[in-house]
């Protein structure tokens, strides 16, 4: 819209009166809720087989609609709010889903600035008109004109200026002065989905979260005045645990009182964690539903969650890098799920997850901070739930024995944690796990392939390579790190003769699927006479 709308009325430039917000003595409480952006009557949710908000991000139809809603706002800069509302209502009628139009408009409304434009401050115009009406009365149209004349006289303005200012400050009469949306249509849809999920959570009575950033989750819950506990599913493995979040009053009844807090929690979870799932019990006018969300459904526009939480200390960062470089049978996770400590939780620095069994070892690095920190840690370690926990203790703390007395394994360090010390502990667990792992292996294995790497067979059975040492391979011969059928090995052997270049022999073996050339040549009775760094010649082994 052009500036013409700010135009000229009664031959005078139009003044502007911004209604200032009165100063407030405002103490925001924890539960003081900002009004939801998308109100409950605009909630779009499918109740077929669960409780599923109807997300729109990535939907081309929704994107076109979003662009049109943005267009309506842009096209009404300089116009009255009631005209904007009429245009939006017309769009609602055209669209299949009026609630989607209104929801998008609700988000865009926060990006719009409205202001009062009138020749006189409306409140002043009203006061003067009402006072004049008290003396004259305005029952008839003629009397009304007389009243406005008198009011105009008092303020020294034209009566029509009184008339046009009377209620120029009503919302419906205010003018859209500026519209600067933060989002393009696609981002608007992402924001819509987040707001929609938050609105759905307003009716939640309990939420359960798994997140790759539990620290942010737990501190947000505390800040919002919520209580949490760790629930380990009996039938699940040790990793199947979640943080159950409720409010104080939830002990006595199912209550939707904490819905707004849950909605704010969702935003934190989506903004901080790379991977998360959230399950919520929804009380939908007395009917119960389960709402399930994850990082594929909802994200915060313009915020990229960290793939891994930031390290608290250099000791931890350094340890993680060195451990991962070793490529052991253990996966390292930063800040894994929280552990229960009485009525509170503790989030260890790391977890080591064994690749070949559902087994997890937690690892806490205890550096020197303050006596209070050490005291708190010791108390936590005394009460933490029964899990495998290894604690690395700075020697200077001198509390190793105290911790060991609480049934945790202790690794001491000074300066940096030695990876070898931790690996040694993990090896002990491996030894314990070996029997369990091997128990599932058959005594004999006969792979279909003529030649296959031992490591691939191990991977297929989900066991470490060592575990295959006691297994028989009736159809194959083990040649170094490869299993190969004797007939196949013999056939390749025919192609190889003394005096051949090593590279040639290596190619012949590779064609047959045998990758460990040195071991195969040795098995066939040859040795390699190396020639510098570039190559070598195949020779008969000396008898």
């Amino acid at each position: 819209m052009s500036l013409a709308h700010r135009g000229v009325r009664s031959g005078r430039s139009v003044g502007r009166f911004r209604v200032a917000t009165p100063p407030r003595l405002y103490r925001p409480g924890r539960y003081v809720r900002r009004r939801p952006v998308i109100t409950k009557d605009l909630l779009r949710v499918s109740r077929r087989g669960g409780y599923r908000p109807q997300f729109v991000a990535g939907d081309p139809d929704a994107r076109r609609l979003a662009a049109r809603v943005v267009g309506v706002y842009q096209g009404h800069v300089g116009e009255r709010r009631s005209d904007l509302d009429d245009a939006l209502e017309a769009l609602e009628r055209e669209a299949d889903d009026y609630k989607l139009v209104r929801g998008l408009a609700a988000l865009l409304d926060r990006e719009a600035t409205f202001e009062t434009r009138a020749p006189l401050p409306p409140r002043r115009a009203r006061r003067v008109a009402f006072e004049a009406a008290e003396t004259v009365g305005a029952a008839s149209a003629e009397e009304r004109a007389t009243v406005l004349d008198r009011a105009g006289d008092r303020l020294g303005v034209d009566p029509s200026e009184i008339d046009s200012s009377l209620y120029a400050d009503r919302d419906a009469n205010r003018v859209l002065a500026a519209f600067d949306p933060r989002w393009d249509p696609e981002e608007l849809l992402v924001q819509y989905d987040l707001s929609l999920a938050q609105t759905a959570l307003f009716d939640a009575t309990e939420v359960r979260v798994r997140s790759t950033d539990p620290k942010a989750l737990v501190s947000a819950a505390k800040r919002l005045g919520l209580l949490y506990e760790i629930r380990v599913r009996e039938d699940g493995g040790p990793t199947d645990r979640e943080v159950v979040i409720t409010g104080p009053d939830a002990l006595f009844r199912r209550t939707r009182r904490y819905g707004t807090a849950f909605a704010r929690l969702l935003r934190t979870v989506a903004a901080t964690a790379d991977e998360w799932t959230l399950a919520a019990d929804i009380d939908d006018r007395g009917r119960e539903y389960l709402l399930e969300l994850d990082d594929g459904d909802v994200s915060v526009p313009g915020v990229e969650p960290l793939a891994e939480p930031a390290f608290d200390s250099g000791v931890e960062a350094d340890f993680a890098a060195r451990f991962r470089a070793l490529d052991l049978d253990w996966d390292l996770t930063r800040e894994p799920e929280p552990l229960r400590v009485g009525a509170s939780v503790m989030i260890p620095d790391f977890a080591f997850e064994y690749r070949h069994a559902d087994f997890r070892v937690f690892f806490e690095v205890m550096g020197f901070w303050t006596p209070e920190y050490v005291e708190k840690k010791l108390a936590q370690l005394a009460d933490v739930e029964d899990v495998e926990l290894v604690v690395a203790v700075d020697e200077s703390l001198g509390v190793g024995e105290e911790i060991a007395a609480r049934d945790h394994r202790v690794v001491t360090y000074s300066g940096t944690v030695r990876v070898k010390d931790v690996v040694d502990v993990l090896r002990e667990y491996e030894a314990d796990l070996a029997a369990e792992v091997a128990a599932d292996l058959p005594a004999e294995v006969a792979p279909e392939a003529d030649a296959v790497a031992v490591a691939d067979v191990a991977a297929e059975h989900g066991v470490p390579t060592d575990a295959l040492d006691d297994v028989e391979f009736p159809e194959h011969r083990r040649v170094g790190s490869t299993l190969v059928r004797p007939a196949v090995l013999d056939r390749v052997g025919d192609e190889i003769e003394a005096g051949m270049a090593f590279a040639e022999a290596e190619d012949a073996l590779a064609d047959a699927g045998v990758t460990d050339a040195s071991a195969a040549l040795s098995a066939l009775g040859y040795r390699v006479e190396w020639d510098g760094l570039s190559g070598g010649t195949v020779r008969e082994k000396s008898p």
Binding site: L25, R27, V32, A139, L148, Y167, Y228, E229, L251, A343
Partner: protein
């Protein structure tokens, strides 16, 4: 035995070192590894512990200092009886008294008697203003205000139901007495939390109509106490209240209005017939609203119904009749009511009468009401915001331009006009302007 420690935590009482035998409302909370009870059971828990002779480290209430209070009011006989009944039931309970009987005065006396920080909870911003003014004028103490754009807490504080609900967890340990004005509102599912999450042992409810059709007054009785005193409007009529008469005025739609009405109503009726909705109960209307979420035709029908209603409410003839009424009652104090905000502004602009609606800012609302009270303005047009208990003395003429058909609204609006007038008028008059041969007329019929 170590003492039992009671602390307040976000709307609950946390019980540490609890006796093995259970306490009223207490349950074991694994999250904190203590006992816990809803805050409103605090008084019973304390009593139970006292009966058992347990040492108690009671840290539940965190009461601000309160200066000595004296209301200076002389109570009328029935007001004294009501207060005594409340005191006799351990400062718990509801007083059911007709509009205009001076419930505020009794509450002020109750605050003096309890001599403890008090929170007065009220349903509207207008009542917030009124109570704030009353408390400030009566007592020599600062008065806090929660709602209408302000959030201040003092030993004496007035809050809207909404603000009290939102901040109950946080402020539940700050008051020894709760006063609920129009206590029947507390029956609403959400508002009950206010009474549940505050620990205040003393509770007083005030209302003209305690019973709710949904039976929720039983829940209120549990949280605030039962009705300990009631009085019929008839007991007071003539003695403390003015005589009044009701005049019902029917107006016709113009031909053009009639046409627009029939068109919109037709769209609605067609859909309803096709969809087989019968409208035998309120839930049928709910059904239509529900369908409108997914069915564009249902939504169109709903919008058409709304248009039809608007034609009816806004009938031009009503404004003509209103002009005649205003003309006839020149110099008298007149309040005009209508449920439709748009109509309020139409009337305000047409007759240049100050308007009060939900859109009106706190400051201007305060100013308008105060100017109406002191006589600067003799007329005011309001949407439903003035419905309950707002102290608007001296008005002798009321005009209702539309009605929802709810009995409570009707009696309470009427009650406002019933107050004794100081402008010399012996009788108050209530006009009801309805459009004839439309659904609106049936609404008026049903109320009789």
């Amino acid at each position: 035995m170590p003492p039992v420690t009671l602390t307040y935590e976000d709307g609950t009482v946390r019980v540490a070192g609890a006796p093995a035998e259970s306490l009223p409302g207490m349950e074991a909370d694994a999250r904190s590894a203590t006992g816990r009870a809803p805050a409103h059971r605090y008084r019973e828990i304390r009593e139970a512990l006292r009966e058992r002779g347990r040492d108690v480290d009671d840290r539940v209430l965190d009461l601000p200092a309160l200066p000595a209070l004296d209301s200076g009011y002389v109570l009328r006989e029935y007001q004294r009886e009501a207060l005594d009944a409340w005191e006799a039931s351990d400062r718990r309970g509801v007083l059911e008294l007709p509009t205009g009987s001076g419930k505020t005065v009794i509450a002020l006396a109750a605050i003096v008697a309890a001599a403890t920080p008090a929170l007065v909870v009220v349903p509207t911003v207008d009542l917030l203003e009124q109570w704030h003014r009353e408390l400030s004028a009566t007592f020599d103490a600062p008065v806090g205000r929660l709602g209408g754009g302000e959030q201040t807490v003092e030993a004496l504080t007035v809050a809207t139901y909404d603000s009290a609900y939102l901040r109950a967890d946080e402020l539940g340990d700050r008051f020894g007495l709760l006063v609920f004005d129009e206590v029947h509102h507390l029956g609403g599912e959400g508002y009950r939390d206010i009474a549940r999450l505050f620990a205040a042992p003393a509770r007083l409810g005030l209302t003209a109509t305690f019973e709710r059709p949904d039976g929720a007054h039983e829940a209120v009785a549990e949280l605030v106490g039962p009705v300990v005193y009631d009085l019929d409007p008839d007991d007071l009529a003539g003695e403390h209240l003015a005589e009044y008469e009701v005049r019902r005025v029917e107006v016709e739609l113009t031909a053009a209005e009639r046409e627009r009405y029939e068109a919109a109503q037709g769209t609605f009726v067609d859909y309803v017939r096709d969809a087989g909705i019968r409208f035998t109960s309120g839930s049928d209307y709910q059904e239509l609203v529900k369908r409108s979420g997914t069915d564009p035709r249902a939504r169109e029908a709903l919008l058409a119904k709304q248009r039809a209603r608007e034609v009816m409410m806004n009938a031009d003839a009503k404004l003509d009749r209103l002009a005649r009424i205003l003309d006839r009652h020149r110099g008298e104090r007149v309040i005009v009511f209508t449920a439709h905000t748009a109509l309020v502004y139409r009337i305000s602009e047409r007759f240049l009468i100050p308007a009060i609606t939900a859109e009106t800012g706190t400051d201007e609302r305060r100013e308008t009401l105060s100017r109406f009270r002191d006589g600067t303005y003799s007329r005011v047009v309001a949407a439903n915001v003035l419905d309950e208990g707002v102290d608007v003395p001296e008005a002798s003429v009321g005009v209702i331009l539309s009605g929802s058909g709810s009995e409570r609204e009707f009696t309470q609006r009427l009650g406002r006009i019933l107050r004794p007038g100081a402008d010399g008028t012996k009788t108050a008059t209530l006009y009801e302007l309805v459009t004839s041969e439309t659904a609106e007329e049936r609404v008026a019929q049903r109320r009789r």
